[in-house]
């Protein structure tokens, strides 16, 4: 029995919708009949079959999650804190990868990201100077080391 019946129900609907969309898109793919190619080599054949297979699996998950009872789970007092940490991590990472990179030079974007990330998660009002110094040192060290190591030593292009 699944440990996450409600999530399974929603995810099964996503899977079924995806499978239906894939089958329709595969059907709409060109058959190249004018080029005289074999009808069994058309590009939509495999994705269509895979979409159908995924649809069957999604349906099985859907039916199972309908039968599944609600599992009573004890509330974890640290769960809300965990989700907050997760949301902050996601925000910092997306801001760096989608926002800062490309807009600022790599070394500067990296230094800002590492500094902000470390400071946000280690900030204590009583030890503010220490937190700022640690975050600053780590930011400079990471930015310098990654830039030098990848670009100069291993000759890899940086974003």
């Amino acid at each position: 029995m699944s440990k996450t019946p409600r999530a399974d129900l929603w995810f099964s609907l996503v899977i079924i919708a995806l499978a239906v969309a894939v089958v329709i898109e595969s059907w709409r793919m060109p058959r190249f009949a004018n080029l005289g190619i074999h009808p069994m080599s058309v590009p939509g054949l495999t994705p269509g079959a895979l979409g159908a297979a995924l649809g069957i699996l999604g349906m099985a998950l859907f039916l199972r999650s309908l039968r599944g009872r609600k599992v009573a789970t004890a509330t974890d007092p640290t769960a809300a804190e965990g989700w907050l940490r997760l949301a902050s991590t996601l925000a910092f990472c997306l801001l760096y990868a989608v926002g800062l990179l490309g807009w600022l030079p790599f070394w500067l974007a990296t230094a800002i990201f590492v500094f902000a990330f470390v400071l946000a998660f280690t900030w204590r009002a009583r030890a503010a100077v220490r937190a700022i110094l640690t975050a600053g040192c780590l930011a400079i060290a990471t930015s310098a080391a990654v830039t030098l190591l990848f670009e100069r030593v291993f000759l890899v292009r940086l974003p």
Partner: protein
């Protein structure tokens, strides 16, 4: 005897100071990555692949193999000291390793894990040198029908074995992987599927950015969501296990080595199952099975021997069939291709000595593991004192650089982010990652061989079921599916109970 000569020759050829230096640092780096909760062998190999892009194949491949071996071993430290598996492959090691540490025998447990990993790698290496040439020769009989079934069987068995309590989720992950692999230009008519005019999507999802996302970014999110782990200050006691005690357990080592390698060979199953199956076999064979899980040294030894033996095991199908035995092996397969090595059934014809070179690389990696593992037990505790808040932003920077560096495409960074979020969500819902990865790797093989087979048979499905190897693979796939269905298992069990 010819094989032994080729192997010894390869061992001698690689015993150059520069090579050995690479072996030492790459194994140490692997151990460090394996020790850090949240960092896996898959991520380590993927990131190191970008660093070794400009190296020659003879330098880069040993480095990647050492990273692989080191990371799977390194995870045992965290399992023993923190009761948190450093990599998924070390989960079984925590069962007896942590109770041993609590009893003040952490040093001895780490020593035992080191020797277990060393011997496991050696047994796997020997089996690789013996089996790989035979399997490659057997693989020459494979045509489109067989490769199609191999891809289907790989995804089905991987989904079954990596999600033992819920195979449906394993299969969904696997088929999702196969479907994601269909995005981009297909290999027969060069038609751009699901790309909607986007040049980036026409290139498909790169395997390495996807893996860096699924195993790097997703892990960062998981680690940051969990409560922080406690730092360890001391290991206590002796580190070197008594030789007499090791010699008395030779059968456990051999059995776990063979079982681990066997599990490694099965597509997409990998090191964690290598450890669990070896652990279960050791428990079944023990005179005191009740002591397993309470600090039984044989339990720890079997798990660590099994997971490290699975490393050479997972490389065997990579070399001979171009099908990965595990998620880290999937990255290794991509790295082989990047460095100009063409794995597959033709490997013994095109590069007959390469299999033995890989065996020699595994030999040197296992030697480095033994030396570094025993010498650096206490200094390496420093790694476990690094706070996750300090480590994770650095890892994310490496994930971004690693995803971008392969093809210098910003799109690959987005792929990494997308697969990271998808991987995190799937993990939260208890979907295994290994079938997803295997699906992405096997998607192209399945597509091309299915359509080629259908063209060759003029639209008939008959050869897919009547050719001998195809029929066996089809039967195995069907058996795996039926075995995974709870009603079928219950019906068989009821029938067995009823029969006199």
């Amino acid at each position: 005897m010819e094989e032994l000569g080729l192997f010894l020759n390869a061992v001698a050829q690689q015993a150059l100071p520069g090579n050995l230096f690479n072996v030492l640092w790459a194994t140490l780096l692997g151990m460090t990555i394996g020790m850090l909760p949240g960092l896996t062998a898959t991520l380590g190999i993927a990131l190191l692949t970008t660093l070794t892009l400009r190296m020659g194949a003879d330098e880069a491949i040993p480095v990647l193999i050492c990273m692989y071996v080191g990371a799977i071993y390194g995870g045992s430290r965290t399992a023993i000291l923190l009761n948190i598996p450093g990599t998924p492959a070390n989960a079984a090691s925590a069962l007896d390793g942590f109770p041993l540490a609590r009893a003040g025998k952490a040093g001895e447990a780490m020593g035992l894990a080191t020797f277990g990993s060393f011997f496991g790698c050696l047994v796997g290496m020997l089996l690789l040198a013996l089996i790989a040439p035979q399997l490659a020769e057997f693989g020459l009989r494979f045509q489109s029908y067989e490769f199609f079934w191999l891809a289907v069987f790989g995804v089905v068995i991987s989904g079954r074995l990596t999600a033992l309590d819920d195979p449906l989720k394993g299969w969904i992950a696997g088929f999702l992987g196969l479907l994601l692999a269909q995005v981009g230009q297909e290999g027969i008519h060069a038609y751009q599927r699901f790309s909607y005019g986007s040049v980036d999507l026409a290139g498909g999802f790169g395997l390495l950015p996807a893996l860096v996302g699924a195993f790097g970014f997703a892990e960062i999110l998981c680690v940051m969501k969990q409560p922080a782990y406690q730092a360890v200050r001391d290991v206590g006691g002796r580190i070197l296990p008594r030789l007499r005690s090791l010699a008395a357990r030779w059968w456990t080592i051999l059995r776990s080595g063979v079982l681990g390698t066997g599990m490694g060979i099965i597509p997409g199953v990998g090191e964690d199952m290598g450890a669990w199956v070896s652990y279960a076999a050791a428990r079944r064979a023990s005179k005191r099975p009740e002591s397993f899980g309470q600090g039984n040294k044989e339990g720890l030894l079997s798990a660590e021997t099994g997971n490290n033996a699975a490393v050479p095991g997972a490389i065997i199908p990579v070399l001979t069939l171009a099908v990965p035995g595990s998620a880290p092996a999937a990255v290794l397969l991509a790295a082989f291709v990047i460095h100009g090595v063409r794995p597959g059934p033709l490997i013994m014809i095109e590069s007959p000595t390469f299999v033995f070179q890989v065996a020699a690389m595994l030999f040197w990696a296992s030697v480095a593991l033994l030396i570094l593992g025993l010498l650096l037990t206490k200094p390496m505790l420093f790694v476990l004192r690094v706070r996750r808040e300090h480590l994770m932003p650095v890892i994310f920077v490496l994930c971004v650089v690693g995803a971008f560096a392969i093809a210098s495409r910003v799109f690959d960074i987005w792929v990494m982010l997308g697969f990271g979020i998808l991987g995190f969500v799937l993990r939260q819902m208890h979907y295994p990652m290994a079938p997803l990865v295997l699906g992405i790797v096997l998607g192209s093989i399945l597509d091309k061989n299915f359509r080629r087979g259908m063209v060759l048979s003029d639209g008939s499905l008959e050869p897919f079921f009547t050719r001998p190897i195809s029929a066996v693979l089809a039967a195995l796939t069907l058996f795996t599916v039926l075995w995974g269905l709870a009603p079928v298992r219950k019906a068989i069990a009821a029938r067995v109970r009823r029969s006199p």
